[in-house]
């Protein structure tokens, strides 16, 4: 190779490799919340106004300050979401009187299908729409369903990347409900 061409071609190749590396590194889910929780810290939950599913206006976690929120990210096309919905509905009914609630975040879903899904499952807790998972990305969501337990001060106290179980809720939700704001 001629010496005059060596450096420009080397520089262009290095720039291309750097670009590809950045692209691959930046597409993975954000695991910072998981790491902080593993270190025993609670993480300030991201708050964003999102459209209400099946209703007008917007809503966010800020509407439920002082309450324990079971934030569940779901989609009507996701089979594991279907299987955990009855448990979430029962949980919502049992914690409402104790200062808690389940709040759904319907993600990457067709509105009509989502509403039909809720009707079929007799779900009464409210859901917000995160149509392109922008809010989910701020929570490090990488699949469905995922559930975040938010304490009365708006901090994430526990998360589950996958369907919740009664045992997991008993272990992590019960202590939060007993906490005072």
């Amino acid at each position: 190779m001629q010496p005059r061409l060596y450096w420009p071609i080397t520089f262009a190749a290095a720039a291309l490799v750097a670009l590809l590396t950045y692209g691959v590194a930046s597409t993975g889910p954000d695991t910072s919340i998981d790491e902080q929780l593993q270190a025993g810290e609670r993480v300030e939950a991201p708050v964003r106004d999102l459209p209400r599913l099946g209703a007008t206006g917007t809503g966010s976690l800020a509407d439920h300050a002082g309450r324990v929120v079971v934030l569940n990210v779901w989609a009507s096309w996701c089979p594991p979401c279907t299987s955990e919905m009855p448990l979430l509905q029962r949980t919502h009914e049992s914690i409402e009187s104790r200062g808690g609630l389940v709040l759904g975040v319907d993600t990457q879903d067709a509105t009509e299908d989502a509403l039909e899904f809720l009707r079929e499952k007799d779900i009464t807790f409210a859901s917000l729409r995160d149509r392109d998972r922008e809010y989910g990305r701020s929570l490090g969501v990488s699949g469905y369903p995922e559930t975040f337990l938010i304490d009365r001060r708006g901090r994430i106290a526990a998360l589950r990347r996958g369907p919740v179980t009664q045992a997991w809720l008993d272990e992590h939700l019960e202590p939060l409900l007993k906490e005072r704001a």
């Binding site: 262009a12 291309l16 930046s26 096309w77 990457q108 067709a110 299908d113 149509r131």
Partner: protein
């Protein structure tokens, strides 16, 4: 004959203005599976099935391709379209091919310039033109040969 031509013109007039009905494959290759990030026409994910059902329903409503794509964006966000965002890292998908094309054009221009210089330059040694000393020697040799 004139009546047949008139009838044909009337039929063309009645049917020719109608836009061709859009089909699922027309749209599938321009749309992404929002969860698996592959083109919809190659995805078998559950959400891809939902997207296809959504498109079919809009086709049945008589929507145009652009209207259906706009409806998909309204439901799933702009990432549903199979084209990179003109911002952030995705901007590279627009800039890199453009940069490569510009570099290739520059390379071709430089090569063309080099070839032109080679054509315009002095004739290579052993060409048809002789330096004056050789020409004089050749002439004298030829004269000697003729005599």
């Amino acid at each position: 004959m004139r009546r047949i031509a008139l009838l044909a013109l009337l039929l063309v007039g009645l049917t020719g203005v109608a836009e061709p009905q859009v089909t699922l494959p027309d749209i599938e290759d321009e749309v992404m599976c929002v969860e698996c990030r592959t083109a919809l026409n190659v995805s078998q994910a559950p959400v891809a099935d939902q997207e296809r059902a959504f498109i079919r329903a809009r086709i049945a409503e008589g929507k145009t391709k652009e209207e259906i794509k706009a409806a998909l964006v309204a439901e799933y966000g702009p990432d549903v379209l199979a084209e990179p965002d003109p911002e952030g890292f995705d901007l590279a998908a627009w800039l890199v091919p453009g940069g490569l094309i510009a570099l290739a054009a520059l390379g071709v221009a430089l090569l063309a310039r080099r070839w032109r210089r080679r054509d315009d330059g002095p004739a290579p040694a052993g060409g048809s033109e002789l330096d004056p000393a050789d020409a004089r020697r050749l002439d004298s040799e030829l004269r000697a040969f003729d005599s």
